[in-house]
């Protein structure tokens, strides 16, 4: 099996991989893991989702809608910066071309399967699929930001999906619902790996400072107000022109669409997500951050050192 290139900069510098070499690897990886949503759905006879299954599908059907604007942003922005950096930082330019191509070709294609799978199951269950206005709202233009922060944001979102879908694959009542969530979860785990790889390569290539990695990660998992808490937070931001699906999660225990029906479960899942993201930050930055507090300190320290490239001797106090 062709693996994902986790050390892109090393692969380019040491192994001499060209952009076309990397693109062929991406394509081979995508093809060997390709699955068809129609095959998966057809294989499931006797589909009888429970009310809990429908709540899971309701959320996933909406969450998957927002991938498309993010993929378009990454493809466009990546290509633009790749061309801007072609003389100044050719190494980063190759990484950005690779990231933009992966986003445009494989990420968007694979996420399309997820969206269609969940919408198909909703329709098969007799529930309404997201109506036109809701679909359009979830297709709002992805906000402007720098490429490294978007890569980490997407790693965060993929971690949300991996942890949530993995648990749903265990909890769902109908076998087809379990199978679809498990299949999609495996895709999301690969996407997480890709985003971490691109973020690391951009830091390794000196295109973005460590502070961009740390700031996004800290915003995601900081106590009480972190994005990972989504609609459970006491205070929500007003969004204009786009939807963050994690801010739309149904939390009311009396609502039949509530996603998680126990506070203990929410706490456990949040901790799993935190640990996964901290591991991603360690991988990208090389910093020994094992707690959210250490992550916050590392972020402040990186500000003092002018953004601290990864090679900077950035020590994190425990």
């Amino acid at each position: 099996l062709v693996p994902i290139l986790n050390e892109l900069v090393e692969s380019i510098r040491r192994d001499g991989l060209s952009l076309t070499d990397i693109l062929r690897r991406q394509h081979a990886y995508h093809e060997q893991r390709r699955w068809q949503v129609s095959d998966l759905i057809v294989s499931g006879g006797g589909f009888r989702p429970s009310s809990r299954d429908i709540a899971f599908l309701w959320h996933a059907a909406r969450a998957e809608l927002t991938t498309q604007p993010a993929g378009i942003r990454l493809a466009n922005l990546g290509l633009r910066i790749a061309n801007e950096l072609s003389s100044e930082n050719p190494l980063a330019s190759v990484v950005l071309h690779a990231a933009a191509a992966w986003s445009a070709r494989y990420w968007l294609e694979e996420e399309a399967h997820h969206e269609v799978a969940f919408h198909s199951l909703l329709a098969m269950s007799g529930m309404a699929v997201p109506p036109h206005d809701e679909v359009v709202a979830h297709r709002g233009e992805f906000p402007e930001d720098n490429f490294a922060r978007i890569c980490i944001l997407q790693a965060c979102v993929e971690i949300e999906a991996v942890v949530s879908y993995g648990r749903i694959a265990q909890m769902a009542d109908d076998p087809l619902v379990r199978q679809v969530f498990l299949t999609v979860m495996r895709d999301e785990a690969q996407h997480r790996q890709y985003f971490i790889s691109f973020a690391k390569a951009l830091v390794d290539a000196g295109a973005f400072p460590v502070k961009d990695i740390l700031s996004m990660a800290y915003a995601w998992i900081r106590p009480d107000v972190g994005e990972t808490l989504g609609s459970d937070r006491a205070r929500q931001s007003r969004r204009e022109g786009f939807v963050n699906w994690w801010e739309q999660v149904v939390q009311d225990a009396d609502d039949p669409l509530v996603l998680w029906n126990s506070d203990e479960l929410k706490v456990e899942l949040t901790e799993r997500k935190r640990q996964s993201l901290l591991a991603a930050v360690r991988r990208v930055t090389g910093l020994a951050v094992h707690t959210v507090e250490q992550l916050g300190k590392a972020y402040l320290l990186s500000m003092r050192t002018g953004g601290a490239p990864r090679t900077h001797p950035c020590q994190v106090a425990s």
């Binding site: 402007e144 996004m216 915003a219 900081r222 205070r235 929500q236 931001s237 972020y299 402040l300």
Partner: protein, 88 residues
């Protein structure tokens, strides 16, 4: 006063004159529109984080949460309160 240095530093990171930034009831969306450097809430957080780091207040001041529903004066009041508690 430390709060004055804090305000000046945040304004400098946002490239907005302090006199234009504070005590006009500006929402954070308005601040973003005024700043030639900040594009989103993460950039706003970074102005505060850089100030906390540069003034070496890491253990005394928390990086403020930035929800785009609030205003810049509200954020700075929260910093002022933390500084007063520290000095007390």
């Amino acid at each position: 006063m430390l709060i004055d240095r804090f305000e000046e530093s945040v304004a400098s990171f946002l490239s907005i004159p302090a006199a234009d930034l504070y005590r006009h009831g500006l929402s954070l969306s308005q601040v973003l529109a005024m700043s030639p450097k900040a594009r989103n809430s993460l950039d706003l957080v970074e102005a505060f984080a850089a100030t906390i780091a540069n003034l070496q207040l890491d253990d005394l001041i928390e990086i403020p949460p930035v929800t785009m529903t609030g205003g810049i004066d509200e954020l700075m009041d929260a910093i002022k309160l933390q500084l007063e508690q520290t000095e007390a």
